[in-house]
Amino acid sequence: MHLRDSDADAAFRADLHTWLDAIVPTLPPEPDPRDWPARRIRDAQWQRLLFDAGYAGINWPAAYGGRGATPTEHLIFLEEAAAAHAPDVGVFFVAQMHAGLTLIAEGTPEQQAHHLPGILNGDHVWCQGFSEPEAGSDLASLRTRAMRDGDDYVITGQKIWTSHAIVADYCEMLVRTDPDSPKHKGITWLIVPMDSPGIEVRPLVTAQGSAEFAELFLDEVRVPVSNRVGDENDGWRVANVTLGFERGTGFVSEMLDTTNVMNELVGIAQRTPRGNGTAWDDIGIRRDIGYVAAELDALWAFTKRNVSQGAKSGIAMGNGSAFKVAYGSVVHRLGDIALRVLDRSSLSFDDVNGEPTAAQLHGKLKGFAVSLGGGTSQIQQNIIAERVLGLPRER
């Protein structure tokens, strides 16, 4: 076991470091976090820069236009990008982290040729239409219906919590193609162009105050059968391939970003007057930061461990559920400390007095996105208890 870079890894890191050092300072200032069209433009610019430099699709196989980096190089990429405060994957999360990879694993050559280039170069944003009003944790009970009509599927139903839907070009969508089979058996995975007639996108505003997700109303939306990924009624299996990628390294860059948020909080604490000194003079705050830092360091080590294991077993992030539960809880705890440091500054969701206080409140609320999105912490704990510890199912 070792953590030292090999010569090849060190060279990869050095090149990347040089590139990031040169490019990050030239980026335009971040847009207003509520302005999703502007965020799309910014994220696409970044994706294009990655593409031109050969870093797009870092962990995708080279045969599909990715860089084909090793798992270790992928982690080095995430680590260096976070350290350089480079933009994260942003609105390309679905496309980069799971839709593209699902197409590589399960799509036809035509689907791959048609979609992968646009994902890699930042032209196409994807969203994920899995959840429905009546199908959240119990995803397999989804009801959005797709009827076969010649060479088309005709889709009618409703999706909800669809992140980035207002700026998306395509949706990876789960639909019910066979309502008579048991619930896991009648689902199909479809590529749905977001400009198809019959789709209405109604933005939903999150507790963070932006229309990050949306409701999709689908009224006889036609998509060709050639947009089906996997077989008809085999969509639950394909969906698990997708979720495997999402729960895999999906949260790692966010976790590294949380480390940046923590470091920034320490800076704020050092500059915030409190008593005769600053908030950082408060041993209670320092000690609690010490615990959170230890846990974030541990989660980074956990990631390395999971990736090392994955490189041998072929199963990326076998401990994804445990990672996500632990990460969700540490984000919440960091946010609690942030509120103690901010004190009355927490009344403003805009920066106060030139301090980056707003990012701390966003970070605090992001804890919920982590502990709810992609399968809630409770669902992850059910998975651990039943599939890992082998405890009996409830029913």
């Binding site: 030292r4 830092a293 230890a294 541990a298 539960v325 059910n382 510890l389």
Partner: protein, 325 residues
């Protein structure tokens, strides 16, 4: 980068686990804390496996492996609740003749002592090693007036109260003393990780068998989620302890002291919280002397106080975050 043990390393862990289950089952070790309760021949057999010389060079009679292998071994020792001065023996095996072979039994204490020092395993030991900022001293047992604690908290760990610590022969310098503190802390953390996993498996096993309301208690979600949290704490802690073990041998990858302190915080939390969960899952049985659940808890309490305390660890990390952000 590779933070996953290879087959040889796993085999090493399995060998230790099997030996522990064989030679140190808890019904036997429960009386190890009593006067005359310590089994020296079992200790010698443990030494013969190479346990205390894992990271010593072969030329010195050791196994010639690295710190991480010692970490893995101590994880298994912790899981097996193996009694005896495991840390003292591992730290001193290269320095004090006879320790490597299990013939000489060492105890360790850190100076300064504040009024009294509680020293585990002193009553069975042949030599006392004193660590302070200046170095390491060897003090002969005969020179010390110790008072045996009649009821040690952990029945498997005898404790002696010492009020005065005479100076002894210096056998290591300040550098070595620091290295011992670091390694001792990581190995204690490794034992805590093993402890946290073993208390969880005991509880999981019970949850699958014990029935109430006509079904196994492990089917109740309240029980499931408590145990899933235990599992998560163990895996998080294990990751940081392995990383800290590797960092000792590859100090350029991270700050060694931050890595060690963080590992200790995670491992201590995993062990104490999981042991608490273990008692709770066992119901009234968990509160009995007879069931092992309390042994994990009590061993965890001992291990988390060795080589520095948790609050100091958290403070150290916070200062490092502030200095390096």
């Amino acid at each position: 980068m590779d933070l996953d043990p290879n087959d040889d390393q796993r085999a090493l862990q399995e060998m230790i686990s099997r030996f522990a289950a064989d030679r140190f089952p808890s019904d036997v070790t429960r009386t190890f804390g009593d006067v005359g309760g310590f089994d020296r021949s079992a200790w010698r057999e443990l030494a013969e496996l190479g346990t205390f010389g894992i990271a010593l060079p072969e030329s010195a009679g050791g196994v010639g492996l690295g710190t991480i292998e010692s970490v893995l071994v101590h994880e298994s020792l912790g899981a097996g609740l193996v009694p005896g001065p495991l840390l003292a023996a591992t730290l001193s095996a290269g320095l004090v003749p006879g320790v490597l072979e299990g013939d000489v039994i060492p105890a360790i204490v850190t100076r300064p002592i504040h009024q009294v020092a509680l020293v585990e395993h002193f009553q069975n030991s042949d030599v006392l090693l004193v660590i302070d900022d200046m170095g390491i001293e060897r003090v002969e047992i005969a020179a010390i007036d110790g008072q045996i604690v009649e009821h040690p908290t952990d029945p498997t760990t005898p404790v002696t109260v010492i009020r005065e610590l005479p100076r002894g022969e210096q056998i290591g310098d300040a550098h070595l003393a620091l290295a011992w503190r670091r390694l001792g802390s990581v190995l204690a953390s490794a034992q805590l990780v093993g402890n946290s996993e073993a208390s969880t498996s005991l509880a999981v096993g019970y949850a699958k068998e014990r029935e109430q309301f006509g079904r196994a208690i492990g089917s109740f979600q309240a029980i499931k989620h408590m145990l899933a949290e235990s599992f998560t704490r163990t895996e998080v802690a294990r990751s940081s302890v392995w990383a800290a073990g590797v960092t000792i041998d590859e100090p350029e990858v991270a700050d060694v002291d931050r890595a060690i302190a963080g590992a200790r915080l995670m491992a201590a939390r995993a062990a104490t919280e999981n042991a608490k969960t273990g008692v709770q899952v066992h119901g009234g049985m968990g509160f009995t002397w007879e069931v092992d659940a309390h042994l994990y808890l009590k061993r965890a309490w001992i291990l988390e106080t060795l080589f520095g305390n948790l609050d100091e660890d958290a403070d150290l990390i916070a200062l490092h975050v502030a200095a390096s952000r």
